[in-house]
Amino acid sequence: MLKNRIIPCLDVKNGRVVKGINFIDLKDVGDPVEQAKIYSDGGADEICFLDITASNENRDTIYEVVERTSKKCFVPLTVGGGIRSIEGINKLLKCGADKVSINTAAVRNPEFIIQSAKKFGSQCIVVAIDAKKNNNRWEVFTHGGQNKTGIDAIEFAKKMENCGAGELLVTSMDRDGTQFGYDINLMSKISSKVNIPVIASGGVGNLDHLVDGIKLGKASAVLAASIFHYGRFSVKEAKEYLDSKGIPVRI
């Protein structure tokens, strides 16, 4: 039986983890590679890096991070943030990333998703959809949630599937950072509309939220950042909890 995946996400800026935890055995708290290794040793099904480096001159830092991580972690590694060219994807994959997550560039130019999926295969193209509720619909936002687009998130999800995305990473902008849990309606609406796996993101504050994301939100995988960063729960604890609630996980 296919297991539901738990994916810890690390925000990386200029090659350093933004919100790190103080694991006792960490030599360098800010090093994304050490954190990723702790997650993969703890049973993380995948690792996700979100590169939030703002300045162009520091953009290359992510490549070095990915290269070092892929020598230590032998689970799938997804990298997102600022990817807008075929060369950019190629470089990340060459450094050892397995998938790339594309947000703004997918909205701006859906043709880019078609081309990337053709060149690298759908299996490594994840489209990240940032959505915000507006009356009875959800609107797609870009640039890390700053820019409105007027595009309907559910229709956009379907479009991205048709363009060749292998997975969708759906983040609720309303919930992100609140710890109130995923936007279950958004997740389940998108998940029932498309026939590719949906990764739920944004708003996890406790382990029940992960359960809800899978059971009610119908997500194939759940992504979380802060509950793992701040050491509130380990990946192992999260998996044991899901298992106790009857959700199939890899233990």
Binding site: M1, L2, K3, F74, V75, D98, F120, G121, G166, N195
Partner: protein, 211 residues
């Protein structure tokens, strides 16, 4: 030991290189890995890895683009019978035929076809992505020391259906029974990605190195 990873521009092989390096250091066996499509280098290596990502059709096409490569692979695997490991579409290409995009002739090493997973009218999402369990069909050298129901990482929408059931070494279940690995004498293949399957995957690679 010299291991050649066949370079035919079929996607991401960094993870494959890294995992083989890690597995060999776990074993304390020195290996030299070369990513190559050079016939001399391929034939002089002890073992080869045939990776593969994307569609069956594109992989076969890319393989055929490199002059003489198919013949060299045939010579290595079929005539000289040296160990070869196909991963994902690399394994699927062992088949006679693939039906992704259009009907495409495969390498024909293990007779059978490659067809789309029956997702029961969209009840199951495709690709089949994530960690799934192995159930063994026969004693395989690749799975020595690995327990039944161990988890490995899959990402695919098409499945290999060999004619001869005896060549199936393990299966997994996603909407239906799916071949997870095949083994025919010196030819090994996994549908899953050992390079992304953590400790179990490294163990599979170690077993291949030890052959």
């Amino acid at each position: 030991m010299n291991i050649a990873i066949i370079d035919y521009e079929s996607g991401n092989i960094s993870s494959v290189i890294n995992s083989f390096k890690k597995a060999s250091s776990n074993l304390n066996i020195e290996i030299k890995i070369e990513v190559t499509s050079d016939s001399k280098k391929i034939l002089s290596s002890d073992k080869i890895i045939l990776p593969g990502q994307g569609s069956f059709k594109n992989c076969i096409k890319s393989l055929e683009k490199i002059e003489g490569l198919k013949d060299i692979l045939n010579r290595f695997a079929i005539i000289e019978k040296k160990p070869l490991f196909g991963i994902c579409v690399g394994m699927q290409m062992f088949a006679d035929k693939g039906f992704e995009e259009t009907e495409t002739k495969g390498l024909g090493w293990i007779s059978g076809n490659v067809k789309k997973i029956n997702n029961k009218n969209n009840q199951f999402k495709l690709p089949h992505i994530g960690w799934n369990e192995l159930s063994f069909n026969s004693d395989s050298k690749l799975f020595k020391g690995i327990k039944e129901k161990s988890h490995v990482y899959f990402v695919h929408s098409y499945k290999f259906i060999p004619d001869d059931e005896k060549l199936i070494s393990s299966r997994t279940n996603y909407s239906e029974e799916i071949v997870a690995s095949v083994e025919k004498e010196n030819i090994f293949g996994t549908q899953f990605h050992p390079e992304k399957s953590d400790i179990i995957g490294l163990k599979v690679i170690e077993n291949f190195i030890k052959l």
